[in-house]
Amino acid sequence: MDILLSLGQGFLVALEPMNLFWCFVGVFLGTAVGVMPGLGPAATIAMLLPLTFQMPPTSALIMLAGIYYGAKYGGSTTAILLNVPGESASVVTCLDGYQMARKGRAGAALGIAAISSFVAGTVGVIGLMLLAPPLAKMALSFSSPEYFALMVLGLAMVVLLAGESMVKALLAMLVGLWIAGMGIDLFSDTSRFTFGLSELLDGVDFVIVAIGVFALGEVLGNMERRGEGTLLPVPKGLRNLLPTMAELKACRFAFLNGSVIGFLIGVLPGAGSTIASFISYGIEKAVSKHPEKFGTGVPEGVAAPEGANNSETGGALVPLLTLGIPGSGTTAILLAAFVLWGLRPGPLMIQDNPQLFWGLVASMYVGNVMLLVLNLPLIPLFAQILKLREFVLYPVIFGISVVGVYAVSNSLFDCGLLAAFGLLGYLMQRLKFPSAPLILGLVLGDAMERALRQSLMMSQGDLSILVSRPIAAGMLIVAAVLLLMPLFRRLNSWRVKAIEENG
């Protein structure tokens, strides 16, 4: 009952004309960047974040969240029409979506993607609404050791799932911690890693690193791969975008599967929408009466991954809003946005800022409806974005990046740092170092060091405080198991190889 009352108040906030407008701007921009291959929601939010400083925090967060989930709607368009995923989570959608388009069912594929995104997006928000308050209540009992353990666990999961090499993911995270440590120490007046530069005394602003690594790194990577796909024709007219009853019937389980899997995986830090879409596609194929047809253009093959991709957003906001722990690069940027406005996501967030929390939740319901209403008729328009030339688009991204960084501090030194982090982002991409652990290390670095040092102050330097409290110990054990798992796997493969060679 309390939840419904709070949600009602949230709708009052979300339905204010100004917030409706920013919600629309967010989902529209999100869809547009989702359509553009190579420019993801993380880069867009990072670039636009400094420009939202003059907005009321609730409106700004409603818009940024709109970009986040709107991008997921847009990502399917390129996957279906061009066989190029607009973002990594849409890779699976290419398998059946593009095949449907080649068979002349592009409209139905786009329609199913939009409907599935709507259903799953709504389920994700319901999950967020139901799960966040009790989780926040539980987290109220957490103290510094539990928070430190929680951050270690979050980082461990991100590192485990970040890429092919766990060593590279760990190194990226450590570099993030190092950058976070630059500037004046939290507890003393010692300046650390400033290289004698007064510009570094306040540390490196998160926005500079996020824009450099995500936006510039992505553009430079795209510059290297100068490939052009063949855009399949987009059917005109709403009727041609609606799937048939038979197709919708075939997708019944896929809608549910995508919604539930996406939400559950979203709650886990690090797993992310890419993994969610792959798993839901796998489940859909496993339970299908005709698994052999997957990959040839079946509607379930579009509905399941697209649903999971969208439902994951609601799940990913659970740990962010209730524990203050982001699980991905994009949610890390959202966390930074909260901090910049003087808000601290965590167990007290719902209690202290009910208008913001419930307004955000309600805006996501509204945004999902907007996306469905907007997307079906506007798909042909969004597809035109794909015709936008790179030589026009990339300088615009460079320009927005500089404006975004300059808006934070009015410092040309920071613009120089932006160039440096752009190169770092490109090199990381080139050498297959994942960027999410770096961003998470950077965002959590200060909080993690503070929690660790406060814990040790509580125990007069005795490290056993981290393992003598059951919740903290449990989380640290899980983190250790996660990080050691690949080692056990490798030891086992050596063991098996040795047995085979000897036998």
Binding site: L171, R192, G221, R226, F398, N410, Y426, R430, L456
Partner: protein, 160 residues
């Protein structure tokens, strides 16, 4: 160039990255040792960096060792796209130069020059189209960010 060389490039890159990160880790440890490790109240400013610095050195060495132990692939088909890498780095250099020029030229002129370079040199567009894109981009930024949003843009010696 073969897949082996493509993988070779990644392996070489991993070795260089490992070496650079080991050096960074060493630097972090060295710096951290100059700060207090433990104070009367609890851990000092050197406590946390010392440990992640050590972790950085260990993991970097692990990356180097695992790269050296990795079996080399037999010759295959994929090639290292040196031209692509060159394009990306050239574009970055142009961007870095435009950032350096911000102090003297301001954002609008720097951005116009960068756009001109990307359109004309990197994408081989005709001069008139490149010039029009550059002017349109700079004008658009002035209209949207300066006039409409009131965002302060870096200004140069000419006052814009």
């Amino acid at each position: 160039m073969s897949a082996a060389s493509g993988q070779g490039l990644l392996a070489k890159g991993d070795l260089w990255a490992g070496a650079a990160l080991a050096a960074l880790g060493g630097f972090v440890v060295n710096e951290a040792r100059q700060w207090e490790y433990m104070t009367a109240e609890g851990p000092g400013p050197g406590f946390f960096p010392l440990w992640y610095g050590i972790a950085m050195v260990v993991l970097s060495l692990l990356l180097i060792v695992s790269t050296l132990r990795r079996p080399r692939l037999a010759a295959g088909h994929a090639k290292t796209d040196w031209a692509g890498i060159g394009r990306a780095l050239l574009c970055w250099a142009a961007f870095a130069l435009s950032v350096l020029l911000l102090k003297w030229l301001g954002l609008l002129l720097s951005l116009a020059l960068l756009t001109l370079f990307i359109a004309k040199v990197m994408y081989g567009k005709p001069l008139m189209i490149s010039l029009a894109t550059a002017a349109g981009n700079a004008g658009g930024f002035y209209l949207v960010f300066h006039l409409a949003l009131g965002v302060e843009l870096p200004v140069g010696l000419l006052g814009f």
